[in-house]
Subunit: 283 residues, 2 copies
């Protein structure tokens, strides 16, 4: 994410000052011409940055913000790119950075991470959630908006708690479902090559970075726990109906899942959508 | 599946005699030139077929085989294309069709079904499981093998019960996981457009045909029930560790899921595979 943003901004003429704790990543990014300069190991040189964006796993971002804080005297915007927003927003406020802080979550990319997976144009047309805190100035929010719009993103400004609740279901739960299924298949020693195209789709996210997702899962434990419990209940409901041979109930559950697949954002209740003809279902 | 097989065989010069209970499907298939003739509503005309392949949901296949049985005096191979194999194989034996019966399961395609989703070349390089029964003659098995190899399939001959157990985990469980997640998201009125690329992958199979999957789930209830229970347990394990903030345990679970993603068929235990560097993970 950070690498992709740096590429886009460098292409637009911005001077990028970069840092990564992995020296090889930093030298690769510098060799690519994307970084004009790099910070020292204690973020020496960060003082000259006008805009500071933290692109590390969400638990690391909290620690990194504390480390950066003494060097942020002149930055007019401080932001991050993490998949959870409550913890980093609260920490920015606690550090007195609230007026200049806007949390950001670009909802783009896939299970790959790291510099090698970065590419320019990643955010073109992508949704980016912006989470200002109570003290964020209109100027800082405008800067954050301009930054992301310049790389093609569609901005959605949302409260950090609302973001975390919504993403628990729409992003974190699918990740956990894929990882849990992978663990089940690992236990059965059924490797990915045993799966069909559909099964490989379901489990693709299991290849996501464990560090990234450990941080997200723990920071969003309260909301995510609700999602996991709901998924356990649904699976148990399907299992009981299958064990009891309740054909009509099993059919109805699959039918509701199918209707969801074709439900639209404007719909107030996806369950009331008409079912499309399965014969013409298109992916 | 049936439509795709008919297309491939017609292209190779075979005369295809077709039947579908939906008149519009039958006329579309005939208009396409794939079908040379069609059977009547009680399968009149089926007597002339040398090879008979049932391509309907698995519960329907059992009923259809009974309906077809009086007209199968001259067929030298009777087969099906269903995702479960125990029920149809047992039924073929019970009907006295064992010597000429070979169950088949082409592990190809995606969540789409019906004539509109059919295409030639679908089975090129695809795995096809063949399940002979105890009385199947070598000639019938060779015919089944030749049929599927002619359309490019890679054949795997396997006992029906072994097939059903293996597919419960590798195919039916991923389907149920996707459907269960779709039901959870439907309940939260979060439509597919709210998901990112990864979440859409995880839930894509929820668009599968409910009739097809109700039959499969009920015929494979015993094995599938074990898979569902295992997935519930894994989700609960993840949830408890997340709720308790067990960072090392959560990290270890994500790490094992990642290792599974890169595990190979030859490996006797996927859990012992070395973890690739997440930075260079490729999908």
């Amino acid at each position: 994410m950070g690498g992709s943003l740096a590429r886009d901004l460098a292409e637009r003429g911005h001077d990028i000052l970069g840092y990564d704790r992995a020296p090889d990543v930093l030298s690769a990014a510098r060799a690519s011409g994307v970084l004009r300069e790099t910070c020292g190991p204690d973020l020496q040189g960060l003082e000259q940055a006008e805009i500071v964006a933290l692109a590390v796993p969400v638990d690391g971002a909290v620690r990194l913000l504390s480390l950066a804080q003494p060097r942020l005297k002149y930055a007019r915007l401080i932001t991050d790119l993490g998949g959870t927003k409550r913890a980093i927003c609260a920490h920015a406020e606690a550090l007195g950075l609230g007026p200049r802080f806007v949390g950001a979550h670009p909802f783009a990319g896939d299970h790959r991470s790291g510099w090698d997976a970065s590419r320019s144009g990643l955010f073109q047309g992508a949704r980016v959630f912006l989470c200002p805190v109570a003290q964020t100035t209109p100027g800082a929010l405008n800067d954050a908006r301009a930054l992301w719009e310049s790389v093609g993103a569609r901005i959605e400004v949302v409260d950090a708690a609302v973001h975390d609740q919504r993403l628990a279901w729409s992003s974190h739960l699918p990740q956990l479902a894929a990882s849990a299924l992978a663990l089940v298949l690992a236990q059965e020693t059924l490797p990915p090559a045993e799966l069909g195209r559909g099964g490989r789709d379901v489990t693709r996210l299991a290849a996501s970075d464990p560090d990234l997702w450990t941080g997200i899962a723990l920071q969003n434990a309260d909301y995510l726990s609700q999602g996991l419990a709901a998924l356990e209940s649904r699976l148990a409901e399907l299992r009981r109906n299958i064990e009891q041979g309740n054909q009509a109930d099993v059919r109805a559950l699959f039918g509701r899942a199918l209707r969801w697949s074709f439900s639209q954002p404007s719909s107030s209740s996806t369950d009331s959508d008409p079912a499309p003809d399965a014969h013409s279902a298109q992916g």
